[in-house]
């Protein structure tokens, strides 16, 4: 196995990419949808009031406190998320008492909890990209880590393989079979290369203390106590004392919030976390909204009784700030609408990069070995169809299930997600039994119908159809429908093209006898 560096990197790129390509496609696509998780959440809860204006943080805090005083007087911990723009639109509450954990989202006009159908929403959809599904947390974490590490390897080896990164960027040879796929793959890869690298590396960093637990234990010793010592050191975690068991009057939380405003700027509070409310050892921990990547991890700790400032993490160290910034960049919670769409586009480009890479693998083997197909060609081709188009169809099915399953059905949130995976399996089965060229075109047709009709289903089953949301100027809701329409149109165009393209392809592939195929293959490798 003696080869030039470029060749060995090309093999590494090809085979490592193929091994995890489909999982990576799944992770990239569901993760990309996560950039609009809140919008999807909102769309999947059509019962929520339409056109409500967001109140100020101050008002939101007052509404939340009032509700907590009534609903959770005996809580040992509670957390209030005041409205802070896109990501936290309504006042959200979380508390722990003897009965367990509770959470609520409040209608800021009435101060009462909002009621909506049970759904995993955009959250469950975006969590798929790192929790997967039907797997224990630990197993999912390691699978995701394995795939991400290979993704990083594939990116680096791809860059080394690439001879003329700049020139190839401006090269596109359409309708040339494998060359076109190669050009497209290079284009998608180079176009958003910094994003691909950032998203892969920072994705690994999310679970770095699981994957690299050895580094912590080699320095701090084994066991949970040692690792919590490390976290206290690195993140300057505030020490929260046990409850004193002595009741004490709390400092005014609105006043503490105002002091946070003075330190951070108006309206930048993400959460107010109160430990041991009403106890002499009460602590109030405020975290900061992500107004930019670096503000992720910003935190202030007050003594809940005296109101003394105990901790202000804007003094955190360089490495911790880098860690926080990487995670902040990955989540992109700070992104304003234009930047958010750019994030979305970059995510789709990454998804398309993986898809074209997978197709390129088959295109190379189909044309290079015209005589006898590569043994992996059939399964790879079919997995490609059932994933590259089948998964989008399955995601559309998730939205359909949200609208079509009875609202009062027991366990409907889980059923919605099951619908996604059942439809994905059906698409894989369809891809397995149909002739490959037909499977591509047919599934593209399914996808165009599944997305194109989604706004129709929405309009028929809810009050938040485009006819209502567009005149009301509710672009958050209308945006989901319009994006579905755009996807439908895109897939329809793809279906049209695929039907013609595949017909042409079939005519071009000669049925050569086996030995000739072998010679052809060897010749193509020499060239």
């Amino acid at each position: 196995m003696k080869q030039s560096l470029r060749q060995s990197m090309a093999s590494l790129h090809t085979w490592a990419g193929l091994l995890v390509g489909w999982v990576l496609f799944f992770m990239f696509l569901t993760g990309t949808l996560g950039y609009f998780d809140t919008e999807i959440d909102r769309w999947m809860r059509p019962e929520l009031p339409v056109g409500q204006l967001q109140p100020s943080q101050r008002t939101g805090i007052e509404i939340g406190l009032e509700r907590l005083a009534a609903a959770a007087p005996d809580a040992t911990q509670w957390t209030l998320y005041p409205p802070s723009g896109r990501d936290v639109y309504h006042v959200s509450l979380y508390w722990v008492d003897d009965a367990g954990e509770h959470s609520e989202t409040l209608d800021h006009d009435t101060g009462r909890p909002l009621e909506a159908r049970a759904t995993g929403g955009g959250q469950a959809l975006y969590q798929l990209h790192y929790l997967l599904r039907y797997l224990p947390y630990g197993a999912a974490t390691w699978i995701v880590g394995f795939c991400s590490m290979l993704m990083l390897t594939v990116i680096v080896s791809g860059v080394i393989t690439h001879k003329r990164i700049f020139r190839d960027f401006f090269t596109f040879r359409p309708r040339k079979g494998r060359r076109s796929w190669l050009d497209l793959h290079s284009l998608f890869s180079v176009l958003a290369l910094p994003f691909h690298l950032m998203i892969t590396y920072s994705g690994l960093v999310f679970f770095v203390f699981t994957y690299m637990a050895f580094v912590v234990s080699a320095t701090y010793g084994d066991g949970p106590e040692a690792s919590s010592r490390f976290f206290d050191d690195a993140f300057r975690n505030p020490a929260v004392p046990e409850a004193a068991g002595v009741p004490a009057p709390m400092a005014s939380l609105t006043e503490l919030a105002a002091r946070a405003d003075a330190l951070w700027g108006e309206g930048q509070i993400r959460s107010i976390d109160v430990r041991h409310p009403g106890d002499a050892n009460a602590r109030v921990i405020l975290t900061r909204s992500h107004v930019d990547p670096v503000s992720n991890g910003g935190r202030i700790v007050f003594d809940g009784v005296s109101g003394a400032l105990l901790e202000h993490t804007d003094r955190r160290s360089g490495p911790t700030a880098v860690n926080d910034a990487l995670l902040g960049l990955h989540e992109g919670l700070f992104a304003t609408p234009v930047l958010r769409w750019l994030y979305f586009a970059a995510g789709l480009i990454g998804t398309a990069m993986i898809a074209t890479g997978l197709v390129l693998w088959t295109a190379k083997r189909r044309t290079a070995n015209a005589g006898r197909a590569h043994v992996g060609l059939a399964p790879v081709e079919r997995l490609n169809v059932g994933t590259i188009i089948g998964l989008p169809v399955a995601i559309a099915a998730y939205f359909w299930a949200n609208r079509l399953l009875p609202v009062t059905l027991e366990g409907r949130a889980d059923l919605e997600m099951n619908a996604l995976f059942v439809v994905w399996l059906l698409m894989l089965a369809h891809a397995a039994v149909r002739p490959v060229h037909r499977a591509w075109a047919e599934q593209a047709l399914f996808a165009s119908a599944a997305f194109g009709l989604l706004p129709v289903v929405n309009a028929l089953t809810t009050d938040i159809g485009l006819a209502a949301t567009v005149p009301a100027g509710d672009w958050m809701l209308a945006g989901v429908d319009l994006t579905a329409l755009a996807c439908g149109a895109g897939f329809a165009a793809a279906a049209r093209r695929l039907r013609r393209l595949r017909a042409g392809d079939r005519a071009r592939v000669p049925a050569a006898p086996e030995p000739a195929g072998r010679r052809l293959r060897e010749a193509s490798q020499r060239s």
């Binding site: 060749q7 590490m149 690299m212 701090y220 083997r365």
Partner: protein, 124 residues
């Protein structure tokens, strides 16, 4: 792994002129010879398992020698660990022979372990 697999002796011309190695057929469905397969398996092991050891032990050694408070040093080291890992993987496949790949990874792991043992002894 105790012994690296024996590899077929490549033509000597290739040693002097690796740029021409392009004529060596490897992938694309042609079943590679047993030696080549063993070589690939060895590199995969060196990259996957060896790289994992190099990344974790290397990062731990880095944490021991970085001149900053302990928590910050560990944080900096773990953030770099994936870069170490990917470098090890790339090296395992870029090395001229599978034997070199195995030896290189083993050497990097050994060196990291040594640094960790010397510099890290006073840490805990």
């Amino acid at each position: 792994m105790s012994l690296p697999p024996r590899l077929p002796r490549p033509p000597s011309a290739l040693d002097e002129n690796p740029g021409k190695a392009a004529t060596q057929a490897t992938g694309h469905g042609a079943a590679p010879a047993f030696g080549a397969r063993a070589g690939i398996a060895a590199r995969v092991l060196a990259a996957g398992l060896g790289g994992c050891v190099v990344a974790s032990v290397g990062a731990a050694a880095l944490a021991a020698v970085l001149p900053m408070p302990r928590g910050d040093a560990v944080m900096a080291a773990v953030l770099l660990s994936f870069a170490i890992y990917v470098a090890a993987i790339v090296w395992a496949f870029a090395a001229r022979s599978a034997l070199r790949a195995l030896c290189g990874i083993a050497a990097a792991a050994g060196l990291s372990l040594l640094v960790l043992a010397v510099a890290g002894s006073g840490l805990r």
